[in-house]
């Protein structure tokens, strides 16, 4: 086993037993379960869950991720004093953090679907996209969290940064797009809005799922634009690729900081 694997094994043990992660999984489970009990059909549950996933997953990933990296700081130093290279240690830490969060999300949202829905064929596509969006958002926002917590030695700055990134992506960004659209309503803005949407992981998650439904055009300007441009398989691949890039870029930056950092 490689050094990364050895570290990962114990990190997984540690994070999977963390109360925050267990509570997170339980919360998602209860919520999804409740939506089934009150709402009924699987498709409606997926749509209701969408907004929860788009808000909650980035928030939990960013905050828990940042706090975890700060909390593990001293032990990271002890590990760095062992015969291990920094890149292996970094990879072990990132995966040890993001995989349990991803597993908690999968279990919390996935289990109720297995319990309640006698999944009709039509539901598989949307459900799969919901899970994919949630997983990718987990990896994106934990990568951002690791970057912030590695870059800022000051815990308050790192946590503040994580909240700011979350606010910006989940709430402020769409407002800004709407403002731009209304200010420049005289101009053809589709391409610009498209480009802006591609830069925000939360919007990408929304688009990914809304494209699964015919209601996409009703779900705001972003959805309409994407319906037209990306209502194809190629569009879906582009969205997925953009999300992967949004996880890889902060991660690569964090690794760079981690390698050069003085602990």
């Amino acid at each position: 086993m490689t050094a990364t694997g050895r570290i990962l094994r114990y990190e997984l043990h540690n994070v999977l037993r963390s109360r925050t992660v267990l509570v997170y999984a339980a919360l998602l489970f209860l919520l999804t379960d409740a939506l089934f009990r009150f709402g009924g059909s699987g498709a409606r549950v997926v749509l209701s869950l969408l907004n929860v996933v788009l808000i909650l997953v980035p928030l939990v990933s960013a905050l828990f991720g940042t706090m975890y990296v700060y909390g593990a700081r001293e032990f990271t130093e002890l590990l760095l004093a062992q015969p291990v290279g920094r890149p292996s240690l970094f990879t072990g830490l990132y995966l040890g953090l993001s995989l349990p969060l991803a597993a908690a999300f999968l279990a919390g949202v996935g289990l109720p679907f297995i319990l309640h829905a006698k999944p009709e064929a039509a539901l598989w596509g949307p459900l799969l996209m919901l899970l994919t969006a949630g997983l990718l958002l987990t990896f994106v926002f934990t990568a951002v969290a690791v970057l912030l917590a590695t870059h800022f030695d000051d815990r308050a700055k790192g946590l503040g940064g994580a909240i700011l990134v979350w606010l910006a992506c989940a709430i402020i960004y769409d407002g800004l797009i709407l403002l731009i659209v209304s200010w420049f309503s005289e101009y053809p803005l589709e391409r610009a809005v498209l480009a802006l949407t591609l830069m925000n992981p939360v919007d990408l998650g929304r688009v990914l799922l809304l494209l699964q439904f015919d209601t996409a055009a009703l779900m705001g300007y972003t959805g309409a634009v994407f319906e037209r441009f990306f209502g194809s398989a190629g569009g879906r691949v582009a969205v997925l690729a953009a999300l992967v890039v949004q996880a890889v870029v902060p991660l690569a930056l964090a690794l760079r900081v981690f390698r050069r950092k003085d602990f």
Binding site: R9, E11, H13, E74, E77, L78, Q82, P83
Partner: protein
């Protein structure tokens, strides 16, 4: 004197603060070298540079005749006991030890003496989260000695230990020294230094104020205790 670690022109700045100002040092093999100095003297930066936690701006380190560079394998010969022990909350000491064993690989030597001592506290299978500071510090010590390191770096090792545990650890330091290990000991406790150390490195503001034998220090300053000798050095520097 047989040298374990040579330090040449080691310099490190953090922004405008000069932490290490071109240190030249040798640390004798099989000896206990105490590292002392006021707060922010650069002790911690020096230790971290040896461990590869801090990247020095200038200078070089030579361990057992091998210049330290990008290759991290040399850390397999070092045992490190940080000042404050923090382990993952939800792991048990048994798991923490297993993790470090896995990382060191099968080639690493083992010395379970202190680990058995720790295990007697009955804490091996309790999550670290619930352990007292003293118990964690014992685990910290057990881990530092576990792989029979040729060089031990101990940062305030007895801080937070009760007198019994503290004596046990000091005995262990004497034992490994007798077995040929080199020990670098950072400490504020003059009594501990007089009890254990052969040599002393006295850092002030990133520079060496004194480096050499403890006995020579007393002779040089004409003082009978290390504490007074150090005070004499500091006073002498201010004149």
């Amino acid at each position: 004197m047989n040298t374990a670690l040579e330090i040449h022109g080691l310099g490190k700045r953090f922004g405008r603060v000069v932490a290490l100002d071109g240190l030249d040092l040798t640390i004798g093999r099989g000896r206990v070298t105490a590292l002392v100095g006021p707060n922010a003297a650069g002790k911690s930066t020096l230790i971290r540079a040896i461990l590869g936690l801090v990247h020095p701006d200038t200078g070089s380190l030579v361990l057992d005749g091998e210049a330290l560079g990008r290759d991290w394998r040399y850390r397999g010969r070092i045992g490190y006991m940080p000042q404050a022990a923090h382990f993952p909350d939800n792991l048990t000491p048994r798991e923490v030890v297993a993790m470090l064993r896995d990382l060191r690989g099968p080639g690493a030597g083992t010395d379970e003496d202190l680990l058995e001592w720790f295990a007697r506290s009955g804490a091996m299978d309790r999550p670290v989260r619930g352990l007292s500071g003293g118990t964690r510090q014992k685990l910290n010590a057990a881990i530092a000695f576990l792989f029979r390191p040729a060089l031990l770096i101990l940062d305030e090792p007895t801080a937070g230990l009760d007198p019994v545990a503290s004596s046990r650890l000091k005995d262990k330091i004497r034992t490994v020294r007798a077995q040929g290990a080199t020990v670098l000991l950072s400490s504020h406790l003059i009594g501990e230094i007089e009890e254990l150390a052969d040599d002393l490195i006295f850092l002030v503001e990133g520079r060496i104020r004194y480096a050499g034998g403890l006995a020579e220090l007393k002779a040089q300053t004409g003082e009978r205790s290390v504490e007074r000798a150090m005070a004499a050095l500091l006073g002498g520097g201010r004149e």
